[in-house]
């Protein structure tokens, strides 16, 4: 017993809920995560087979298709699945509805697969249809999360960041659908009678298309991409890490003002960046600098949290995550360079935009996600299989569920592949892109192997008997 604590001075915590009440069943987030891994593998395989997608300018149907495979299939699947699990736990509340989450998974799956396929064959009408299915799922997701946030007993910087990310995710989908609507032709609807009711819908779509025609297509696409990449993904990485990094390293937030400042500035920077990218304004640089400033403050606070940590050893999961944070430096440098007023769009700067996108999605966001996956999946498997056996049998620790050596090998392979692919994309080298993406694929394979190893515990648990002398037959509680 801890001698430093006087038992008579302790104050009770709110009554604990029954086991598993706060979180959805483990199969739901695991289904999202396995989907995400399959999409990542498919996307990297696509780039290995067609490296010119990264070695040439990105405004074509195939690049847009593979980008949506990464963004919706890989990143959104994992992030949404993780949020259903993490948000209730991190914010000490309960998920509003698991049923809605299951429906969202179905809409998400149909929506993103259909969108990727239709982007590939460049059928924008069908992109709009599948995008609407995806948007329906996102609507359910945002509603479910918003109702969950309403139950949060005490708001903090993480809750604010999650709320902001939900807003930006809705905006991203709205902007994406608007872009798709603007690319559709409505000539075939001329014969529709007003009484059919469809006419009103078509008129609405025409007005959206008319409004979107004020903006140039590439500017709108870049603005849409930043809404998702910064507003949804980066916002969550920053906000959630303020809860999880102290939790995993036994530390605490060192300055709440600094943490709040980073979230506020990130929102301000994104708002300005969205408008200035869309309008191709020279003020783009100013707002890019605001965003970079937000990330600098985030890095400052994260460094302070890590300096104050009590757990000296940083495991590979945390190392993956911190690598994502380090990669924000070159990414921010590229963001500033590409926002420079009067920057000419030539072969090289066009390729730098490819590097920027690849480094952001496969570098920063993917490293952060993989780091967190190495925390979340072992927990889900452990919780699903061993949480009822703790105290009755010797159960494995989370680190026992996977191979740390494979994890380390995957880290270096992924990092080397990322560096090679980025360098090759900048130099328009198809062979270099193929080699780099091949290495990243190997890194993904190690992750898949480790995830497979973890999942086997769900079907073949490996508890051992307790070593202590206890009652021969466990008694019911």
């Amino acid at each position: 017993m801890s001698a430093a604590v006087n038992p008579s001075k302790v104050k009770p915590a709110p009554a604990a809920l029954p086991l598993g009440v706060n979180t959805p069943s483990v199969t739901l987030p695991l289904a999202f995560m396995v989907t995400g891994l399959l999409a990542l593998g498919a996307g990297m395989g696509w780039l290995v087979l067609q490296p010119r997608l990264l070695a040439t300018y990105h405004y074509n149907q195939y690049v847009i298709a593979v980008t949506h495979l990464f963004v919706l299939g890989w990143i959104c699947s994992v992030v949404m699945g993780a949020m259903y699990q993490l948000v209730p736990v991190a914010l000490e509340t309960k998920l509003y509805s698991e049923r809605l989450a299951r429906w969202q998974f179905a809409f998400h799956l149909v929506g993103f697969i259909g969108m990727v396929w239709m982007f590939r064959v460049w059928n924008m009408k069908q992109v709009g249809h599948f995008g609407s299915v995806l948007a329906l799922g996102v609507g359910l997701f945002v509603y479910n999360m918003a109702r969950t946030l309403r139950r949060v007993p005490k708001w903090n910087v993480t809750a604010v960041a999650v709320a902001a990310a939900l807003f930006w995710s809705s905006f991203t989908v709205t902007a994406g659908l608007s872009i798709a609507i603007a690319k559709c032709s409505y000539d075939s609807t001329e014969g529709l009678a007003a009484a059919q009711g469809v006419r009103t819908l078509v008129d609405g779509l025409r007005s959206i298309a008319g409004f979107m025609s004020r903006f140039d297509a590439i500017g709108a696409m870049h603005a849409h991409a930043h809404l998702g990449g910064v507003g949804f993904f980066t916002m969550l990485i920053v906000g959630v890490s303020y809860k999880l990094i102290p939790m995993f390293t036994l530390s605490e937030i060192q300055s709440k003002r600094r943490a709040a400042g980073s979230i506020i500035l990130l929102n301000v920077g994104l708002t300005g960046s969205f408008a200035t990218i869309l309008l191709r304004s020279p003020w783009k640089l100013a707002f890019a600098l605001v965003g970079v400033g937000a990330l600098a403050i985030y890095g400052w606070e994260l460094a302070a949290i890590l300096r104050a940590r009590k757990r000296q050893t940083l495991d590979w999961g945390i190392t993956y995550f911190l690598t994502a944070v380090v990669l924000l430096f070159p990414l921010s440098g590229l963001a500033v360079a590409l926002s420079w007023p009067g920057l000419p769009l030539n072969l090289f700067t066009g390729q730098l935009e490819n590097v920027y996108g690849f480094l952001g999605l496969i570098g920063v966001v993917s490293f952060a996600i993989i780091g967190m996956l190495y925390k979340i999946i072992p927990f889900l498997v452990w919780f699903g299989r061993y949480s009822r056996q703790i105290g009755r049998a010797q159960v494995p620790s989370l680190a026992d569920l996977y191979s740390a050596r494979l994890q380390a090998a995957g880290y270096w392979t992924f990092l080397a592949g990322l560096a090679a692919a980025c360098g090759a994309a900048g130099l328009s080298s198809e062979m270099g892109v193929r080699i780099g993406c091949g290495l990243v694929s190997l890194g993904v394979a190690t992750l898949a192997l480790n995830v497979g190893t973890m999942l086997t515990h769900l079907f073949r648990p490996k508890p051992r008997p307790l070593s202590l002398q206890t009652s021969p037959v466990p008694k019911p509680v």
């Binding site: 302790v10 736990v89 989370l398």
Partner: protein, 103 residues
């Protein structure tokens, strides 16, 4: 008269491992108090952080371990947040197992 000693209870609770940190809850310094009344045991414990995803599992595990101990008929485990846990509450064995230091 109680046949269960506090030492036996703590030894039993050492079987309950925090799966994230890979260390038992006694050496982590999570156990704040143990009261034995006949065959009933009451334990007051904490967790490393509020919102710990292992909250329910560890409380359940401690209770399970105790009720399976010979001489114990009933066990009650209460989780408290005040005073908050601090690494200085860990034993030497706990610090060695988790790599915690620097305070």
């Amino acid at each position: 008269m109680s046949t269960v000693t506090e030492a036996a209870i703590l030894e039993t609770l050492r079987q309950v491992i925090d799966p994230e940190l890979g260390c038992n809850i006694v050496d982590l310094g999570l156990i704040y108090g143990v009261t034995v009344t006949g065959a009933k045991v009451a334990v007051v414990m904490t967790l490393t952080t509020p919102g710990c995803p292992m909250h329910e599992s560890l409380r359940w595990g401690a209770q399970q371990a105790l009720v399976n101990l010979e001489g114990v008929d009933a066990a009650e485990v209460e989780v408290v947040w005040d005073p908050p846990w601090h690494p200085s509450l860990m034993t030497e064995a706990g610090r060695a197992a988790t790599g915690v230091g620097g305070f």
